[in-house]
């Protein structure tokens, strides 16, 4: 469905993402792990065009999207409207939620369909209520984010992304900012989503994601994929890569 080819991102002299290829199939669930600073967030943000790549290609259903080349041959992002349209098909959930604080939970979820998709208020409301029910927050629909717990905020954020009916969901460490006792509720919300067949890429330090729902696990280090395979392979005793072994020892 979405394919990245030779994607590169520099921050000054630092190569945050270094010539990465990634093919995301429809319905696939990919978990990306790796040490801090290895480029996981940067990679996710490039899939969503929040970060401009320096080189490479992004293909959607086989066609190159999002970029063109200027006279000097450098990559430039397409017009904002085109980028926005692409983004609206890709949902993103952030580590720190980024709910809109001046809107209630319900309004947060309705905002995208109303402003971006120009849906009617009634229809958007219907969809939003349905989604809030799905993430188990019907009773909090009129609460402002400041009055919600971290886990509740993250579940609203998931509903907000789903309201756009995305083809792909990106999760950047969705449980890292949560108190340990709140991880479970967000974890099971994402698992439900996976069981419905949603295509998703999850960056996490939570090995449970990898073990329980990943079709494919990618280990990233210094901007490169240094392991890619079945979750079983990652946790098997045959794992030879020393970087992966030390990392797993630390997080498990």
């Amino acid at each position: 469905m979405i394919e990245l080819q030779g994607v590169v991102k520099h921050f000054g002299s630092l190569k945050a993402v270094d010539d990465v290829d990634l093919n995301i199939e429809k319905g696939e669930r990919i978990v990306i792990i790796g040490p801090s600073g290895s480029g996981k967030t940067t990679l996710l943000r490039m899939i969503n065009f929040l970060e401009k790549m320096d080189d490479g290609k992004i293909l959607l259903d086989g066609t190159e999207v999002g970029y063109r080349r200027d006279k000097k041959g450098r990559l430039v992002l397409e017009k904002p409207e085109i980028i926005s349209a692409l983004r609206s098909e890709i949902g993103m959930v952030f580590q720190h939620f980024h709910l809109f604080p001046h809107m209630t939970a319900l309004q947060n979820v309705m905002e995208g369909p109303i402003t971006v998709k120009r849906e009617s208020r009634e229809k958007a409301r219907e969809v939003a209520l349905d989604l809030l029910g799905k993430v188990g927050l019907m009773d909090k629909k009129d609460a402002f984010p400041a009055f919600l717990s971290g886990g509740q905020k993250q579940r609203v954020a998931i509903a907000r992304a789903l309201a756009m009916r995305p083809r792909l969901m990106l999760f950047d460490e969705p449980t890292s900012a949560l108190d340990p006792e709140l991880v479970g509720e967000v974890f099971s919300t994402i698992k439900n989503l996976a069981s419905e067949g949603m295509t998703m890429v999850i960056v996490t330090h939570q090995m449970g994601f990898a073990r329980e729902m990943a079709d494919r696990v990618i280990f990233m280090d210094n901007g490169k994929f240094i392991f890619e395979g079945q979750p079983g392979d990652l946790f098997s005793s045959h794992m030879e890569n020393p970087r992966v072994k030390t990392f797993l020892k630390k997080v498990l």
Partner: protein
């Protein structure tokens, strides 16, 4: 020897006047003439003594000399601030000649002088209050129009400032730099007195609105830019992630979050604005300050200025309380 002469003189004087009393009428005119001469010589004490001595005429008798003498005495007493006796003299005259204008006028003056200063001031305050209130209407109108213009212009300038288009940003930087870096008074002078030399003549009201509007737009722009930039960058990212364009995100997500943060500093600006409208009195606008100044110059009544101050205080206090209320209302989504 000297004392003997004096006592002799003193004993003679009443005797002389007693004789005059028993003598014929013209003696009153004689005394009046003597007294007038004494006044001309500057010997007011003696003149006053003489005038006092002239007795009232019997009914039907000629009152001329008596009235003149009383009048002269009343004037001398008035100038010496002996108001009670002066008033008494005026009343003596009016008892004889109820329509005597000179006595009436002097009596009014004496009575005015007898009223305590503060009472007179209070009377002036009452007299001029309508004028001041009418002028405050103009002050309030200037404030309200500027309060509509400057946030709108300020927002556009702020958005221009944070634009990635370098030229636009630089242009508005320059605008803000000029209008915040020079006195408002100078800006008003330039617009009202300077522009006509370039062929643009403005009415005082138009010039005042343009001056206040531009100046306050510059101040509000900086406040708004600060507020927009203070919103967490994650908000713009989250808005873009659900497919919003930059302008949709600004309009729906970023700018609404600045409202509550804007109220206190913008409220302060609007309170400063109330006071700054006094500056337009220098470009021929009649507003509260100008009206108070004009009345003060005519009356030298310091209480007129106090009264203007009270009106300003009422306006600024209403603003302070209102902005506090608005801030509270805008903060409903915050957990405190």
């Amino acid at each position: 020897m000297l004392a003997g002469t004096l006592s002799l003189l003193l004993s003679v004087l009443p005797a002389r006047s007693a004789r005059a009393e028993t003598a014929d009428k013209p003696d009153r005119y004689e005394l009046l003439a003597q007294g007038t001469r004494l006044v001309q010589d500057g010997n007011l004490d003696a003149a006053l003594a003489l005038f006092r001595e002239i007795p009232p005429p019997a009914p039907g008798q000629d009152a001329g000399a008596f009235v003149r003498a009383r009048m002269e005495a009343a004037k001398i007493l008035f100038s010496r601030q002996e108001y009670d006796e002066s008033a008494g003299m005026c009343k003596d005259i009016l008892a004889k000649l109820p329509d005597n204008l000179e006595a009436k006028n002097l009596l009014a003056q004496v009575q005015a002088a007898q009223t305590p200063e503060w009472l007179r001031f209070l009377k002036d305050m009452k007299t001029y209050l309508p004028t001041l209130l009418k002028a405050s209407g103009m002050t309030l109108l200037l404030v309200l129009i500027t309060m509509v213009i400057s946030p709108i212009c300020g927002l556009f300038i702020a958005l221009g400032r944070i634009s990635r288009l370098k030229a636009l940003s630089a242009f508005f930087w320059c605008f803000i730099w000029m209008f915040r870096g020079t006195p408002l008074l100078l800006q008003l002078f330039f617009i009202y007195y300077g522009l006509p030399q370039m062929g643009v003549t403005l009415k005082p009201f138009t010039a005042a609105i343009i001056g206040l509007g531009l100046n306050y737009s510059a101040y509000l722009a900086e406040i708004m830019r600060g507020a927009i930039e203070s919103i967490d960058a994650g908000q713009m990212e989250a808005a873009k992630a659900i497919g919003m364009t930059y302008w949709q995100a600004m309009r729906r997500i970023i700018i609404p979050q600045t409202y509550k943060r804007l109220v206190p500093p913008v409220g302060n600006e609007f309170i400063a604005l109330i006071k700054d409208t006094a500056l337009v009195s220098t470009i021929a606008m009649v507003e509260l300050m100008r009206a108070a100044d004009q009345i003060f110059n005519a009356t030298f009544n310091i209480f007129i200025l106090v009264q203007a101050a009270i009106i300003y205080l009422v306006l600024t206090s209403i603003f302070t309380v209102s902005f506090r209320k608005i801030e509270d209302r805008l903060g409903v989504y915050e957990n405190r």
